[in-house]
Amino acid sequence: MNRIGNVLLAASSALTFALLYAPVAVTVLFSFNAPRGRFNLLWQGFTLANWRHPLGDPALTEAFLTSLALALAAALLAVLLGGLMALSLARARLRGRRVIGLLVALPLTNPEIVLATALLNLFVGIDLPRGPLTLLLSHSLFCLSYAALTLKARLAGFDPSLEQAAQDLGAPPLEAFARVTLPLLAPGLLAAGLLSFSLSFDDFVISSFMAGETVTLPLYLAGAFQREISPQVQVLTTLVLLVSAALLLLATLSGMPTLRKAVDLPRRDPFGRP
């Protein structure tokens, strides 16, 4: 009985992993495909040509770089503002702090489409043309709650006497913050940044309302699937995959506690947002 149980457990684990990683494997595999025609969807034959020209598809490359820049900027802004929010929530003795805390967490349960239409109303109302600016504003906005909550959790366990000790030893408040609080918060900052980055990088719903003429990678791909899919799509996504896998590996293997602690946190939100 026990042996059968073990076998079943092993089989189901193997199946789960297979299901998790099959799409990844297919993506990597098809980056080496030599498609005849405009759609890289059926296996035709092996080639390295796609990898020789990873940026061979100009429209795709532009969308990719746009998304990269957008995600970086949105993550930075979200971490900065979210960090300040978390600091005031954790430190300041505000009246109604719990209500404010709730208000910060509430947007997490808000369906994206609601935020998207609301923002559209707002931007049309104040006559702000849709484009890079509205994209950045809206992306940082929906990342903000995630960043703030990640950092708030980190700050909650922070011993205030550490900062006092730094001041006691002669560091003025700002220096104490920079030399003690900030380094100790670094894993939280990195985690919040990674989370925000990946949320922004693959956002579709809000982007489609906010983009105007700008084309992000998810928007480009959604459109491209109706016209053509070049193998460079798989090449670039494989590259993204490699970079995040390398980061993860580095974090696990290296003695970098900052990175290790950062990836320990869930990469995806607990509310099952897409």
């Binding site: 006092q164 030893l169 003690v180």
Partner: protein, 369 residues
Amino acid sequence: MNPGTLQPDRQAPLQRPGDRPVIELEKVSLRFGGQFSGQLGGQFAGQFAVEELSLSIAPGEFFSLLGPSGSGKSTTLRLIAGFEHPDGGRIRLQGLDLTGAPPHRRPVNMVFQNYALFPHLDVWDNVAFGPRSQRLAAPQIRRRVGEILEVVRLSELARRRPHELSGGQQQRVALARALVNAPAALLLDEPLGALDPDLRRVMRSELQRIQRELGITFLLVTHDREEALSLSDRLAVLHQGRLEQVGTPRQLYDRPCSAVVATFLGAANLLPDSSAGGLRLLRPERLRLSETPPQQGECGLRAQVRELAFQGATVEVRLAGRDGLAGRDGLALIAIDTSANLPENLCVGSELWCRWNHADTHRLADCPP
């Protein structure tokens, strides 16, 4: 803060009369609620955490603030360090009025109750934090950190992180980190509270050694009377935010001015004073138990043993007076004697004589204001 040398000449006596006090508190008061927002803010809002506290601590002194929890002793320390600011009164350090100065501008350093070591820095960098904040030159930092690690005997562990150290070692790091700036005074907030009893004894004598070696004023906050009595040159007993009495351990133990001080510093028999009214203190070790009645010139009382606690070298005996003293029946007494001195057949229920010399009692007068 002051870039003096770490090891001044220690031939001089501890207290030189005429020296300017290192720490001077003048009628310092702080109320809960207001700007002081510790955890007792709500319930105790408006009450005094510290009330009109005046203290003067001399250079090189080992001074203790003793009191039960909530007596205001830690708050006093935080006021001196600059983490709290008083509602009234002045705080002078080395003669300078620093009442409103922020912590980083004060020539004192603190050893925190939980040590507050920086977890992201190793021992060396923890200790070097102060000198680096003072913007000292690199060679000077190296020399000082090296020296002070030697003093606390941690040179071997300089590259360890705090979590890789034992409690006693962490304590030494906290000491070194606070001492490396050669502060005018070291503030210690219940530094031995987190250690087990054996280690506590070791660290107690370590504290004494380091204080003697460096000649820096130590201000220790503790609720452990043994610690305060054995370490201090002088100590102050705080009670409900007010100063009860200041003096040498001997003065406070033998000649306390109030029942609060008398009972806080050790077991105490408080006898009604038949001639002048009020109470007289009789320390339990001055009470003799015997089968024979008091001799001429001695005071005495027939009493029954209620509890016996054998403690090895000594025995603690709790008794109830039989025929009363000054008309009181059943006066509770406590005696502590070396076990060698006590009748061997002593047991609960035994009746015997408690004897003492009147000269060994001390009248509890009102505290001088």
